[in-house]
Amino acid sequence: MMGHFDYLAPKTLAEALGALQDRGSGAAVLAGGTDLLVQLKQRKRDLSCLISVGSLPELKGIRKTPDGMLSVGAATPLGEIVSAAGLSREAACLAEAARKVGSSQVRNLATLGGNLCNAAPSADTAPVLLVMEAGARIAGPGKERVVPLEHFFTGPGATVLQPGEILVAVEIPQAPAGFAASYIKHSVRRAMDIAFVGVAALMVPGADGAGAARVRIGLGAVSPTPMRARKAEAALEGQPFSVELAARAGEIAATECSPITDLRASAEYRREMVAVLTRRALVAAWESAQGGAAR
């Protein structure tokens, strides 16, 4: 049973921003509700007003912009993102991560913006968006700004969103030609579970075909925020690719992260798994990129 609160369903983004400002600190944005309503039922949050953004046209849908960017409305349900995998290769990468969240019932409600604004270090869509160098388009009173997703998270459950601001869209730039990406979620159960480690890798093969010109590695659930493993990336770039090199990059990634021990896994186990899963994600992305080149 939830406590009492007001409920507003504004028709436009401007109206929603106005309501958020009027209602002050007791108000929160309601998107899919799969996290927020549970927090309210468990009395982990006490709010005086929910402002529903689920039907704001400015926050809905997935579209390609003229400059090749993929713009995903923050209130787009994850299920719709899974269904839109065919839109582009970037969309397919995001869909692969989105389909690992919860159940089909949860994905039909839960939104991409909610997954990011809830800011769980384990959010499944975060590592893959980090390796695609996505941006978060944020609307506030009278202005909009775009924050690189790498700087969006500030701690567990915390983001750069200021009071009165709403995440509007996630913008994914067109990835370099020939890229391939992978995401590995490690959890006890294959569905309805939270990752104890998530690893995304993106590789762009170099002109000589022997190694990767660009490498990006995104880690989830092993630091206070989803993070890039930049030292591991640097160890691979421009070098001839091999499984041994991928394994070395995995070892480096394991030293870059700062996992904690909680009910799901110990810090030591998580660190081991970062090494193993980074290697696997890199090999998977590399093989996928080679397959793409051969076609």
């Binding site: 939830m2 406590g3 009492h4 609160f5 007001d6 409920y7 369903a9 309601l30 899919g32 509700g33 799969t34 309503l37 549970v38 309210l40 039922k41 468990q42 929910l50 529903s52 689920g54 299920g79 919860g102 159940s103 089909s104 019932q105 949860v106 039909n108 409600l109 294959r190 569905a191 309805m192």
Partner: protein, 166 residues
């Protein structure tokens, strides 16, 4: 705070005034008397409260009734047409895919949404489609068989009669 809403449930329109903090599952069960929708965990984990909202399976414990204003809701009571059971309801009975029955309405509605999107799923796709519906009795084998049988998918393990002969 209360709000007037119109809920379209199983093809019937209901005008209601609901407290905004009430969830769809509570309004369906307590206000409309549609107790076929079960309330299990109330946290979106067990899937017993699954209904179709505009054709998509959702946990009705994670939807405020006011969020369903003007939308189409299908509950287990809405599947049979003129007393004739839906194909999924029939195959659940034929395959003995029911023990205590608590998870059954949610299972069938998740399966209904799955088959609407993917008419001939593989066994793996059925298991993925039902991942958000917990059953503590059956071990899922007969449920998966029943869904495959309703789909006529090539993956189906055959009718129960055939199995007994094998």
């Amino acid at each position: 705070m209360k709000k007037p809403i119109t809920l379209n449930v199983n093809g019937e329109s209901h005008r209601l005034e609901v407290p905004v903090h009430r969830t769809l599952v509570d309004v369906l069960r307590d206000d409309l008397g549609l107790t076929g929708t079960k309330k299990g965990c109330d946290m979106g984990e067990c899937g017993a409260c699954t209904v179709l909202l505009d054709g998509k399976a959702v946990n009705s414990c994670l939807v405020l009734a006011v969020q369903a204003d003007g939308r189409q809701v299908t509950t287990i009571e809405g599947l049979a047409v003129n007393g004739k059971l839906d194909r999924l309801q029939e195959t659940f009975i034929e395959h003995g895919a029911i023990q205590c029955g608590f998870c059954t309405p949610g299972m069938i509605l998740s399966a209904k949404a799955l088959l609407a999107e993917n008419a001939k799923p593989t066994e793996t796709e059925v298991r993925e489609g039902l991942a958000g519906n917990l059953c503590r009795c059956t071990g899922y084998v007969k449920i998966v068989e029943a869904v495959l049988a309703a789909s006529g998918s090539p993956d189906q393990a055959g009718s129960p009669e055939q199995k007994e002969k094998d």
